[in-house]
Subunit: 449 residues, 2 copies
């Protein structure tokens, strides 16, 4: 029989167990932090009706959407009915609209699932990746306090994740659009200008100036100067807010945005987020047009090239396609697969030790029943414990523990069994000690702590 080459689909992250443990640990930390702030779990099916999923998208996004159809239906040349979700926002909108009457508003949900995009496969671009989202959805209205809570969640979460110093950049799109209006830039052009500003980090100043003064936008050098003056404001948060106030811009939208930004900064600082971790940054615009107020981006200070690791913002209406209700919301998203990959590349994520803590070796098969009982005793105390039945010499059993990343090996021969003791080998420190069988779990717990 000819063998079929076993191969993972391109553009997916498939991990060996010890890396999977590290990834799982990251997901667990995210989930724990989301729950700590009162967000509730939601999972949606990977497939959505095509008519629902393709409502909001178009162009490149639409081209990348995966169709899903059973072979049976395909062979009968049936119409495509379902697609795989490409983000968690459309499924959320569908979920909230569908279950609106049964949900309690403000509705706080987190969702951590994989999404699918038919990207051309290249390093670091994924066709399948985890998104970890939180959103708060209000009915008719949603107080600004919810905007101020999101950076507190981000702060708590990235402290827990422990990837070094980070900065949550905040801005307000009303402030930006009001500012553009005051310069006489039309709303349609303003959206384009914001998209260009958002490229400042990646493309640099010269590119942005050239584009804005160029054919498409045709802004005067004077106006571009004013824009750059705004987005490059420096200083502490209060210095920036004072400077913005002092500009005395005669535009209601600008003043509303400025007021929201001030209240946002206030609320964040009351929650104990140090200013060093949360900065007003007027160059943050977020490319997506559906953000209408507050916007967030989070950067790892020591890894600026990774880009924003947690972004989001406030939107006017979540589910306009599916419901007559007005459902404003605010939320963020973490692209966990890409984040994990990049932190691995930066050696910030190490291979974890195994989730298995103890390997019970089998020196003497006459003691088989004893080894089983010993393992049960350890498991009773909550220690993840494996018995090695693979056979082979002592050295082979130790190699198995070592390569698997299991820290403790327990050895018991006839002499020890008679005495009621075992030998505990700590593969982390390399030493081994003889301990009373009754004390074994406690000794291990102590070393783990």
């Amino acid at each position: 029989m000819e063998l079929i080459t076993p191969k993972t689909m391109p553009g997916a992250m498939e991990l060996l167990p010890r890396d999977q443990i590290a990834f799982q640990r990251m997901l667990d930390t995210i989930r724990r932090s989301y729950e700590r702030f009162g967000f509730l779990p939601v999972e949606t099916p990977v497939m959505e009706y095509k008519r629902i999923l393709l409502t909001k998208s178009g162009g490149e996004t639409e081209r990348q959407v995966y169709y899903a159809q059973s072979k049976g239906a395909h062979d009968l040349e049936r119409d495509i009915e379902f697609c795989l979700r490409f983000d968690l926002t459309v499924p959320l909108a569908r979920y909230v609209a569908e279950h609106e009457k049964k949900l309690i508003f403000p509705f706080r949900r987190y969702q951590m699932q994989r999404v699918y995009r038919g990207e051309s496969a290249q390093r670091g671009r994924y066709r399948e990746f985890y998104q970890c989202d939180i959103d708060v959805i209000g009915k008719d209205n949603l107080p600004l306090e919810y905007d101020a809570e999101i950076p507190v969640v981000i702060y708590h979460l990235f402290k827990e994740l422990d990837f070094g110093k980070f900065t949550i950049h905040i801005n307000n799109r009303k402030l930006l659009s009001g500012f553009f209006a005051s310069l006489g830039i039309e709303p349609e052009a303003a959206a384009g200008v914001m998209r260009e500003i958002d490229k400042l980090d990646k493309r640099g100043m010269d590119y942005v100036v050239e584009t804005l003064t160029g054919e498409t936008f045709g802004l005067s050098a004077e106006i571009v100067d004013k824009i750059l003056g705004l987005i490059q404001l420096e200083g502490s948060n209060s210095e920036k807010l004072n400077a913005l106030t002092a500009m005395n811009i005669d535009d209601e939208t600008f003043q509303t945005g400025l007021d929201e930004l001030k209240r946002l900064v206030d609320g964040i600082s009351h929650s104990g987020v140090p200013e060093a971790f949360c900065a007003v940054n007027l160059s943050i615009a977020r490319g997506l047009d559906y953000y209408t107020g507050t916007v967030y981006e989070t950067l790892l200070d020591d890894y600026p090239k990774v880009g924003s690791v947690c972004s989001g913002g406030r939107y006017e209406n979540l589910a306009g396609f599916y419901s007559k209700s007005k459902l404003p919301g605010v939320g963020i998203s973490i692209g966990a697969t890409r984040l994990f990959y990049q932190l691995q590349q930066a050696s910030l994520i190490k291979q974890e030790t195994s989730t298995t803590r103890v390997l019970v070796t089998r020196m003497d098969l006459k003691l088989s029943a004893e080894y089983l009982a010993l393992a049960s005793e350890l498991r009773e105390t909550g220690l993840n414990t494996e018995v090695y039945y693979g056979g082979g010499k002592f050295a082979k059993q130790m190699r198995y523990a070592d390569r698997s990343g299991i820290r403790f090996a327990v050895i018991m021969g006839e002499t020890e069994a008679a005495k009621g003791t075992v030998t505990l080998k700590d593969l982390h420190t390399g030493d081994q000690v003889e301990v009373n069988r009754a004390d074994l779990a406690a000794v291990i717990e102590e070393r783990l702590a």
Copy 2:
């Protein structure tokens, strides 16, 4: 604008948050139990190459497989390249063959992911459902001790899940096929006979007798009597094993199977699984032909109609399509979505209280900063805490807590703030007490314990 009706795909389980919490709790328990026995996490992409996924299947299974293709590729009429997995066994085989050199054998993995089958949508049948699998894969060989460990995992897990009394039924297919051979039934016919026997529970005795003496199998009444005598053996495990020994069947395969079954029963009892929870049952055959030795089924004693909630067995070679290595294994699978659905129907799973423990209400907006600080204090101690910014009267805030399933509400007015106290309302008991702010977390923890 015309609204699009928001609708979940048929055949998927989508839950409201409090049910999702209950489901998540079940998955967490399964995962914790798997890890307790030293199984390591693996996740594979939802898509597999078509040539890999469609190797083992055929007929009805194949018709149900979902094709996945990006809209872009579909519009260009490209060939279908990928399918969605329909179980976790084929992905495991591909994974082990692909990463064989980097894995450590015996390889113990658990995998808890959704699988996809284009079933016709009807109550209780799912197109998308969770499978929670464990397998141990050996290289060249895998000692029988691993077969004996699996029921210990099942025992521990279903004790933790707490769905009432259950019985793990065990059997050995070598014993069955050896027995059939001793009756002169050809191996091909024997596989069919085993499939029929497996229907005993669902179709009843008359159906099975009729089928076996009927046209397809054409067995004599005498032979069918002998088969029924075997599969209906009664008594304790040792009584059954003694009866099997006493049969003196002159067939090597039978004797090998009997020996394996004896060692299995021995190993299980040494691990402290009470006999009441694990029964030799000679009518258990498992429909799938690739099991070659030990087989398991688990039934909830009080809910026999639910059928087997955890099944599996020993197989000769996991990845023959993809690797020249011989990779024997043993494993089980839990269909978590169906299990959850059926236990919900049986009212065995209740709606959970929220993962959020405390709602900090806002009586007096002058104290806004205090409420934020209070919430931070509670979160610091590990309590999942939400601040209610929705506005509205006290009664509305309490209704929100109650409907959300949040047990504790904290109330602080000006008087209390001045005194350094808060009022704690326990929505579970209905009472409320004034406590020192500094003691709040401890008081809550005590009530939770």
